[in-house]
């Protein structure tokens, strides 16, 4: 009979009928809370659920991020080699592990390499790649420098120098946290033909041969294997003679050899030049020309 009354109304109603207050309270009621109250309560509960989820998410992201930070990037040594079309290739790779609970998405890296004078030598880009939780992804790197004597990277063949490497990396961690990293590094570059010099002597006793001496140091990390061919050119661009040196110079090694080259009859080398080219497994690369005094 009290269905639909709230407890206050129920007690008043019971009193009016001579029933005790306690007895009236014991009578079950089915009156639901007002809609506005239920809506407010539902919103507060929803807010609490969202807070709990966000706190748990933030805590696991922080834990995972620390785990990822502790697993350092594994990089393999970069190797420099000669490639076709007179280019120098620097290749290598680095591996990124993700021991965390969330994916690392859209990993991209762009690097810009300039010489000491700020001249752009080359760029390299990797990605975008995703790294799933508990996975390791390998990022291969390959950057090509055109090393023609006219190009800005030509000096890489014969001059040790410092290169400025600027790299930009972007990724998104745990869906919500974008991260960008900028790295600035100065790397020492060891030239494969450091101090390259071809010296042309004078014909001994008015003969038809001249001694040609080639010297350089291999400051690169790989062997200088192959041949260096050279041509002796007169000031009027006439080929007066040519020769070849066989190379097998280890990293850190020094090359100093002399050979006699036959000169064509009537050729005058004074004021001319020596044109050299290195031929290895990657093709032929011109070396800087040298003037003959």
């Amino acid at each position: 009979m009290f269905s639909g009354f709230d407890r206050f109304s129920r007690v008043r109603h019971a009193f009016s009928q001579g029933v005790s207050r306690v007895a009236a309270l014991l009578v079950p009621t089915h009156r639901p809370p007002p809609a506005i109250y239920r809506a407010a309560r539902a919103l507060r509960r929803l807010g609490t659920v969202v807070v709990v989820i966000l706190v748990l998410f933030a805590a696991t992201v922080a834990y995972s991020a620390v785990e990822v930070a502790h697993s350092s990037v594994q990089s393999r040594a970069l190797t420099a080699s000669f490639a076709p079309n007179a280019t120098l290739e620097i290749s290598g790779s680095f591996a990124v592990s993700n021991p965390g609970l969330y994916p690392i998405q859209g990993v991209t890296l762009t690097a810009r390499i300039t010489n000491g004078a700020g001249v752009l030598l080359g760029t390299v880009g990797v990605g975008p790649k995703d790294i799933d939780p508990s996975a390791t992804v390998d990022f291969p790197i390959a950057v090509f420098f055109p090393v023609t004597s006219a190009g800005p990277a030509g000096s890489l063949l014969t001059v040790d120098q410092y290169l400025d490497v600027t790299a930009w990396g972007n990724l998104t961690y745990a869906f919500l946290f974008p991260l960008s990293v900028t790295l600035n590094e100065t790397r020492a570059w060891g030239a494969p033909f450091e101090g390259f010099h071809v010296g042309v002597g004078t014909p001994a006793g008015g003969g038809t041969t001249v001694p040609v001496t080639m010297t350089f140091a291999n400051h690169a990390s790989s062997y200088d294997s192959g041949t260096v061919t050279f041509t002796l050119e007169s000031p009027s661009y006439v080929d007066c003679g040519s020769g070849m040196f066989q190379l097998d110079v280890p990293p850190g090694g020094f090359f100093d050899q002399t050979q006699n080259v036959a000169i064509a009859t009537g050729c005058n080398l004074t004021g001319g030049s020596v044109l050299s080219a290195y031929s290895g497994s990657g093709g032929t690369t011109p070396l800087p020309p040298e003037a003959i005094p």
Binding site: V11, P34, A39, L46, F175, L176, S180
Partner: protein, 168 residues
Amino acid sequence: MSAPGAKSPAPPSTEAGGYQIPSLGYRILIAALGLIPSFFLLIGLPVAVLTFVSSHGVALPISVDAVIVWGFVLLALGAARSILKPTAAYGPLSIATSLVTLLYLAYALSLSPYRLTIPGGSATVAAGYAGFLEIAMIVPALGRLAGVLTTVEDARAPKERLPFDYPA
């Protein structure tokens, strides 16, 4: 068995409408207990993390003082809201707490992305957390809506919610 003359705690007030509002002392005690996890979450943990990061020479994304001030304001509002739950001030206090929380999140959002230079100076990192904070803003938005509804309910039918908040 209590000692003669010992004061018994104040009994909760019982209304004829079938609800039982806890005494002020009891409500203060409950609010104080609620402050413990809130203090840990709003002040203790962030200040500990910021101090740890600062001790390693890394620039902070937000000052420790700002975290403490915002945290204490939110704690005070939350405690007042809890203590005054049986009164008509509950709804407006809920709205105020949500608005302050929203302002705090907006302030933190304005500081995103967090840029830091790795000690040594060769690397700069920018970490964005705007997306997370935007999602977190759902919470005060819901709280503000709930506060508005409670304020409307209290204005329309005072004490209507008390039997459900404090059933006898």
